[in-house]
Amino acid sequence: MAKLPTPQMLVASRPNFPDEPWIDTKPEFTPGSYCYPAKKETMELMHMPHPHEWDPAAEDWNLPENWEKILCDAFDDRLARHRSLKLFMDICVRCGACADKCHFFLGTNDPKNMPVLRAELLRSLYRRDYTMLGKLLGKRVGARGWDKEVVKELFSYAYQCTECRRCSLFCPYGIDTAEITAIVRELLHEVGLGTHWIMDPVKNCSFTGNHLGIQPHSFVEIVEMLADDCETITGIRPKTPFNEKGHEILFITPSGDVFADPGIYTFMGYLLLFHELDLDYTFSTYSSEGGNFGSFTSFNMAKKLNAKMYAEAERLGAKWILGGECGHMWRVINQYMDTYNGPSPSHMITPKSPITGTVFKNAASTKMVHIAEFTADLIYHNKLKLDPSRNDHIVTTFHDSCNPARAMGLLDEPRYVLKHVCNNFVEMPENTIREQTFCCGSGSGLNTEEIMELRMRAGMPRGNALRYVQQKHGVNHMACVCAIDRATLTPLANYWAPGVTVSGLHELVGNALVMKGESKRTMDLRQEDLPNVTDDEAEGEE
């Protein structure tokens, strides 16, 4: 009779320690740890190279016959095109400063999620073909050749990186591991390997303007529905200008704010704010998506999707663009837009707030202003009447979304706004905020439900810090300035710190905003009862 295993036997993950070095450890594809593959039809529609059916859990990924040559040539091409990549391949001294800074490593404890080792997966291939020592000594100096298992490994770990760039912050050489991840993903797309969650929005954005592929008329109707909700709450129906020519400002925000809970409440905050300011602006149905999933696919795809912003500003004659609360949208704008599609159309001007006269010189090149900067400026100049006590039912903390924080330095503006619209604000521990912020664990196209388990372990460092302030300071709310965060921090908070709600910054602005001619507010933007409203007063209104 076979013996039952002891608990020690059940937990032993490495019975023959040391089993094998990382270079020989094969990647595992268990349910919950990988994204579903992109559909062949989607890849074909987008003219992606080598579209094919494949399954990450299968032994054979049906790679094209000459896959190795395709990958080697593509890698060679990227090295020639991006000097930064060549530099990143050459200069790492493996000091390990980045090793314990990655939320994926902290959550999974998988050594290949140390940024240094994740980059080493590609660097080892580079070493074989581009360094003398690697050519001569091979594996002894950490060089290796391509094989199908290596491709699987690259896929596994390139999609266990949210391109949040926390590791880069600690790298003494400034190596941007996010760029390495981006290149690995680009290489994988060359042999037809993409994920459904990324390629489907890319396709939808290409054809209809937004991630869900909502047709223009429906898009407008949904926004009008949200304006109706605003009227129910405030008694004022904000205007919803669409595709109108000749306005000063074009407003672009991620479409998640229009379709997804709880993003819609942030969108309602925008509507109310713009209405109150009587802002000269328009939305666009063509450029109805701030997010850019192309940036998780390839340089060219990111460029193509980004082009719509300037194209639409030109068509509508907008002088500058105001951008909503989004994460990677701002990284693309702040770091790549000029290279992709700059210079901006000649009629555009350096953004100037029509309300305060402030000139946003920081946006002189891109002509795009982040709404947190815009609103902070309004508050600074005392242009808004705010009643922060309407948010008294929450004790909020602020999650710095990786891209606005690390890719554009937007650290103080959202806090400034938050402190003016809420009376109770608590910071999370120092090494988990501002530049050192921990990612939600679901950025860069990993915000899909099939990897919920992976997201919960990757988001654990953020959840852990949130739980700490929840227990220590009674925090029951977390504000953020990213559409992906709004969607993904909700389940994360529910798992690690149940009882904490999540919202965008402008939802809280919308709550606190005292509008001209509004009816007495008895509910917040979620149509839940406001605090500090006594029954007498409420009845008095009726």
């Binding site: 608990p7 059940l10 268990t30 999974t108």
Partner: protein, 178 residues
């Protein structure tokens, strides 16, 4: 349980806790174990912090200290929730609780049986079994939360679209043009 047995167990707390923490760390890949052992920051090394926190509480509960069940649960919760989303099968996730048994048998049992406290020792081991069951509850709850999160997320992504579609279904409202 006699006062003597509790004293004896208390004397061994440090070595049992340390040995158990090491045993848990050893369930992670070799390259990671060193990092888990060395860094103490609760936010810079959350896994180690969660493990150490639950180790101390787990031992106190096993030893038979006066413990308030919610405190025990809260301390174990963070640790069990972590194990529930890491890449382990359920038995691997929770078997770590039982790793305390061989440690107790090695470190504490000889001392206790020498002074005729064997019955008290067995009681302590039984408390560990109860704690494993408590962990099982937390584990199941965590996995259910995870499954619910997936369903909720699918719903939330299209929340407004569904609402809009329902409106269309209902037909134009009175006074509206069709």
């Amino acid at each position: 349980m006699s006062k003597m047995a509790l004293e004896l167990l208390r004397e061994h707390k440090k070595e049992v806790v340390n040995a158990w923490v090491d045993a848990v760390f050893a369930t992670y890949p070799f390259e990671t174990t060193g990092f888990l052992r060395t860094k103490q920051d609760p936010f810079g090394n959350p896994v180690a912090h969660m493990t150490r926190e639950s180790a101390a509480i787990l031992f106190d509960a096993v030893a038979g200290e006066e413990m308030y069940p919610p405190t025990v649960k809260a301390a174990l919760e963070r640790f069990v929730k972590l194990r529930a989303v890491q890449k382990f099968v359920p038995s691997e996730s929770l078997a770590v609780i039982y790793l305390m048994k061989p440690i107790l048998r090695k470190q504490v049992l000889p001392a206790m049986s020498r002074v005729g406290q064997l019955a008290a020792y067995l009681e302590a081991e039984s408390r560990l079994d109860s704690l494993a069951l408590l962990a099982f509850d937390i584990y199941s709850e965590a996995r259910e939360t995870l499954a619910e999160a997936r369903i909720k997320e699918i719903r939330n992504q299209h929340a407004q679209l569904a609402r809009w579609a329902q409106r269309l279904e209902a037909g134009p409202r009175s006074g509206e043009k069709p």
